[in-house]
Each structure stands twice: as C-alpha cells, then as structure tokens.
C-alpha cells in the first residue's frame, strides 16, 4: 500500500490534465483486469468481467492545481485556480508545471490586509527575467500542481494529492487482491472531479451500473477547535451518509455498515456539509444509480500536506472488497 500510495500521489495530474497519472495507474493494473478503456473525458475504466451485478467503483485521479493565464513583461505568471485552491494555503508554496518547471507562489507586496488576499493579486515566480524567457518554459494554459513530498511517519502518510490518489491507491490494491465474485466490477479512475464531478458523469453513462461506490477523502473532526464530526484519522473507513452533492442510498449505506460490523472493521459515519463527490453526478445518470461512499479520513484536504492513515486505507480495501463480493 505504502509503495503504491507514494507512486500515485507524486505523479502530475491537475484536473483536465490526467495523462501521466492515467498512464501510471494503467501500468499498475493492466495485468490484473480483463479490459481497460479510456473515454472521451479521459476516464480510465478497468473492467473485471462477471455475469451478475454491475458495480462501479470510482476514485478520481485528478488533483487541484493552478493554471497560467497571463505572463507579464518581467516574466511573472498570473494564474487561476483549477478546483478549490485557497489563497491562504497557496501563498508561499511551490508549484510544479508538467515539464518540471518549478515556481514560488507569492502576492503583490502592497496588499495591507491579508484578509483581502485574492488569487487575482497573486503570481508565480519561476525566476525568469522577461516574458520571452518565461514563455520558453511556461505557456498560457499550462497547469501546475502544488509540490508536497511523500512522507511516512508511523501509521500516517503525508503528501500532496491524497485527495484522491489515496482512493486510487485503495482501488489499485483492491484490483491486485480481488475476491472471487460473479459481479462485474468497473474500476473507474475519474477525471475533473475537482472542477465539478465531470468525468464521473460520462463514465457512469457509458457503464450504466446497478450501483456505485466512491472512494474519496473526507475531512476529519479530530483536529484542534474544529467542528464536531465523527470521522477521525485512524478511525477506519467513513461510511457516507451525505455530502453536499448527494445522499447515500439507504440500502447501500446499511449494507456497508453491516459488513463493517460483521467483519470487525472499525468505521465512522460521514455527514459532510460542504464538499461533493463523484456520486453527485453518478446517481442521477440514466434511470438512476444507487450510490454510496467509502471515504478516507484525511486531514488538511486541499493543501500540499494532506494526511491519511495507512491503516485506514487497508480497511477501506477490506470493506470495498467485502461489498463487491456480497452485493446482490
């Protein structure tokens, strides 16, 4: 798990630019599945054939980042966010473009009150002295991700893009240790989740599954002075009740809870007031798809230092595995 997690978190893959991460994941799983395809939105869809129910398991492979929108005469780059980037988290960070060019994110100096900070008042410095020099490395429309090394300490791992490469890692590990089942399993590594659950929508339309489970991260309620939430790091998978994009189908939620209880897997229940996930797009596809979520407790979501528990990831694999085996 740790090796897989390290591999997938560090690869480039800002929403809409998932080529490298798609290739990385493809290489990891291609030996273990019956079929792999990529749709027009860039979703990676791996199929394990079966005769019974069609189950879609979704983890998004895109990550938040920034996009270059303007290069000034002195070579500084203005940018917009791709997905939910907080100006406060972005300030002072390193960003890395696809070709490896690295820059510092800073702000216009005359800003007096930090509360007035906006991305529009910030820029990326890649150390070039003119527009021409910058344009050799970065063009308008190029995207960059935040730099955040992978570190493991005890049971916790810290890295950029745990959202949602940790979900991708869970699916990859699951693919490698697939239980025997007659169900047909669609492992979908979706695109453009961070900009509006876009990939999941077309993927679900192509599959028209009987049910779907998303493996995505969720925020925890165990840090100093945070809002009350049951979800905690190391507390096991968080079974989704609702987020701001959908309500988990009661039958699926109950099934997940029962499986966790029967098999001694620790779990918490997740009620997220802000933030959506792929089932928000999947559940209204076609005649409707009952959806649920197995969420990975993650601290500091949308920062370059997102933290997850390796033990939680293992338990997510177990629970997902039980679900696809038992679903009727």
């Amino acid at each position: 798990m740790q090796e897989t997690l390290k591999l997938v978190t560090q690869v480039f893959g800002v929403s809409g630019n998932e080529d490298e991460i798609r290739e990385t994941i493809t290489n990891e799983i291609k030996k273990h599945v019956d079929e792999i395809r990529v749709d027009a939105m860039g979703n990676l869809i791996a199929v394990k054939r079966g005769k019974k129910k069609k189950i879609m398991l979704a983890a998004h492979m895109d990550e938040i980042g920034v996009i270059a929108t303007f290069i000034d005469d002195n070579g500084f780059i203005r940018f917009s966010n791709v997905g939910g980037v907080s100006q406060l988290t972005a300030l002072g960070q390193r960003v890395r473009f696809r070709n490896g060019t690295t820059g510092t994110v800073s702000k216009e100096e005359k800003l007096e009150d930090i509360r007035g900070l906006k991305l529009a008042k910030m820029y990326i410095d890649i150390g070039c002295r003119s527009r021409e020099e910058t344009e050799k490395l970065v063009r308008i429309g190029d995207t960059a991700n935040f730099v955040g090394d992978f570190t493991v300490q005890g049971n916790c791992a810290i890295s950029k893009a745990m959202d949602d490469r940790s979900g991708c890692a869970v699916l990859i590990e699951l693919i490698k240790s697939l239980p025997k089942t007659d169900n047909e399993i669609y492992f979908v590594f979706t695109t453009q989740e961070e900009v509006g659950l876009r990939g999941a929508k077309t993927a679900a339309f192509g599959i028209m599954p009987d049910c779907a489970i998303a493996l995505d991260v969720t925020i925890t309620g165990d840090t100093p002075e945070c809002d009350k939430r049951e979800v905690k790091l190391g507390g096991g998978p968080a079974i989704k009740v609702k987020d701001s994009s959908y309500l988990a189908h009661p039958a699926i939620r109950r099934e997940l809870e029962n499986l966790a209880v029967e098999n001694g897997i620790p779990y918490t229940l997740e009620l997220l007031d802000r933030g959506g996930s792929d089932p928000g797009a999947i559940q209204t596809t076609g005649m409707g798809v009952p959806c649920g979520g197995i969420s990975i407790p993650c601290r500091y979501v949308h920062s370059p230092a997102e933290m997850v528990s390796l033990e939680d990831l293992e338990n997510c694999v177990k629970l997902t595995s039980l679900f696809i085996k038992n679903y009727k």
Partner: protein
C-alpha cells in the same frame, strides 16, 4: 449583412421564435434536414461522405433581456432580468416589448430630485420600472401582459473603421458563423445546432447534445473582452482585434486540450489571427455538451465582445471574420483528417 439582420431580431431566452424563424429560412436549403426539438433548438443535419464522425456545431439563439413581472396602479411595468445583466447599466435605457415591439424606457428619478446618498447608490432592478406610456394598470396589462419578453432597443451601427456596435452579439455572431459553415460540404456528418436558453443555464444545449450524441463539438460564441481602461492587463480575458479566442478553461468546461491545440495549429497554418482567452471565468454551452452521453471532445471558438450582455456590445469585424474562417478551416481539416479521432 447577416450579423445586422440577426442582431436586429429579438430572442430573449425562452422566446427565441423570431430568431428561429429567420434562421430556418436561411438554412433550410443548406442542409439535408432539420428539426425543432421539444425545447426549441434547431438541429440541422448535413450528411457527410465516408467519415463516420459526428461533428456538432453549436451557437445559441437567445440573448439576455427581461420579462414583464407586474404592473403598477399607474401603468408602469415591473420586470425581471432573464440571464445575467448588470443593474448599473439599466437606468435611462430603451427597450422593446413583445412581438409588436412596443417601445418603452427604463425610468429614473431626475438627478435634481435625488438625495445626496441616492446619487451614489446603484438602483436595483427590483426597484426599477419601465414606462410604456400607459395611463392605467388595465392599459399596461393589455399592452404588455405578464410574461411578455423585453429586449434592449439598440441598432446595429459601424463604430470606427473596423468595429460595430449592436445588442445580442452574444451569440448572434455564432449563429452567423453556423449559417456560413452550412454552405460548405464535409466528409463527416455535420449537426449544426442553434440552441435556446443558454443565458439561463445552458438549457437548450443539454437537450440538443443529447439528441445528437456527437463525437466532437465546436461551440461558437461571443465572449467577454475587458481590454478597457481601469482593468489590469492580466484581467483582460480577450483583446479586441487579436482574432479568434480559444477557451482553455472556464467555469463550465475544461476544453479538450488536444482539440484546442488542433484549432490553434489550423489557425496558424491558415494565417488566421488567434488568441487564448486568458481568464477562467464565465461559461457557455460547451460545459453541457462535453458531458453528454459518454463524453464529447469539445472546444469553444469565440468572438471577443466588449460590454457583453448590454445594449452596446462592441466587436471588431476582423475578429468575427477570423472566427468564421477558423471554424470552416477547422471543419475542412477535420474532414481531410481520416485519423482525426484516433490521433486525439
């Protein structure tokens, strides 16, 4: 001129009949068949040659405007905005109401009578009213019944050597490009869709794209252009006179990267001026089309329009020509390119 004819028509979202009739008249001999679907889109079909590719061109017929929502005892009209309109531009503008093009004006209290604070304040649309010269509520209700649509009253004029001013450039410019594109023949099946209700939430395109289920879609738009005083260069979005604008990403769509690159190269090869839209705000039908079915390779080509969503939109006619040439050149290129989808 086609753009003049198109912008002289009124087609506030949900009331696109006038534009639809005009366009049907223009295109019926240019395509193999056409249909008007349940929400009011015109979907034209032009059979191609050997290629199995389905290409959708999309431009929306509707424009921002207003709708009659009430009448005062004295015969003034209360109204609501259809689509995104900046309240600041409204006082003292002329409008036309309904099919009969009844004239009206958005009134404002004379400056003499305004208190000092009032002068500094922006009037909200809910406090504004339209005067149609009616003397009573009854008369107003007869002349401008509830639900009647209201469009800006603004003529098409030349502005300087290269620019024109009109209302509804967003997106009659796109409609004009589609009509021109239909005059050519391609190897693939072409579906040119004139959509409705873009301005109230990309509504028509969702239905049109579902009906067509294309492989590739090009959305032709009028887009924002903010190269005006008091705006920082990096907030310009597009620049008037710099040619056709390609969207990389906006609020509704991350355009297909390879397709955008392809369009850029077609422009360069054909000596067509082209620019990237520099901001990521705004959105258009591309967002809905891209996520239809199992996904559609989608890109937007736009004409930069200053003061968009107002009665005095301004564009450079050379930018329009660039968009028209680029669209047709790209369609020809795709037509020749047997490997088009595979190499993508």
């Amino acid at each position: 001129m086609l753009i003049k004819e198109l912008t002289d028509l009124n087609g506030v979202s949900g009331n696109e009949n006038e534009v639809r009739e005009f366009i049907i008249d223009k295109i019926q001999n240019l395509c193999d068949s056409y249909m008007v679907d349940s929400i009011g889109n015109i979907i034209t079909f032009k059979k191609g040659g050997s290629s199995k590719l389905k290409v959708m061109l999309s431009a929306h017929m509707d424009e921002v405007g207003f709708i009659v929502s009430g009448h005062t005892e004295k015969g003034f009209i209360k109204f609501k905005a259809v689509g995104g309109i900046d309240d600041r531009i409204l006082p003292g503008k002329k409008v036309v109401i309904g099919k009969k093009k009844l004239g009206g004006v958005i009134g404002i209290k004379p400056i003499h009578q305004q208190e000092r604070e009032e002068r500094q304040k922006i009037s909200k649309i809910k406090n504004l009213y339209i005067d149609i010269g009616a003397d009573s509520k009854d008369e107003a209700e007869k002349l401008a019944p509830l639900g009647e649509f209201i469009a800006f009253d603004s003529d098409f004029i030349q502005l300087g050597p290269d620019c024109i001013k009109a209302k509804a450039l967003d997106d009659r410019v796109g409609c004009a490009v589609l009509i021109e594109a239909l005059k050519h023949s391609y190897d693939f099946d072409l579906y040119a869709c004139f959509t409705v209700q873009e301005e109230v939430g990309l509504r028509g395109a969702q239905v049109a794209a579902y009906n067509v289920m294309p492989d590739v879609a090009l959305v032709i738009e009028g887009t924002t252009c903010a190269d005006v005083p008091d705006v920082e260069k990096h907030d310009y979005s597009t620049i008037l006179g710099n040619g056709a604008a390609l969207t990389i990403m906006d609020r509704t769509c991350y355009c297909d990267r390879e397709l955008v690159q392809y369009l850029y190269e077609v422009a360069v090869q054909n000596n067509i001026k082209v620019q990237y839209k520099q901001t990521t705000t705004g959105g258009n039908d591309a967002g809905q089309i891209q996520r239809t079915g199992t996904g559609v390779k989608t890109a937007s080509i736009s004409v930069p329009c200053r003061y968009i969503h107002s009665p005095v939109s301004v564009m450079d006619i050379r930018d329009y020509e660039a968009v028209e040439r680029l669209t047709i050149a790209a369609l020809y290129q795709i037509s020749k390119d047997k490997e088009f989808l595979r190499q993508q």
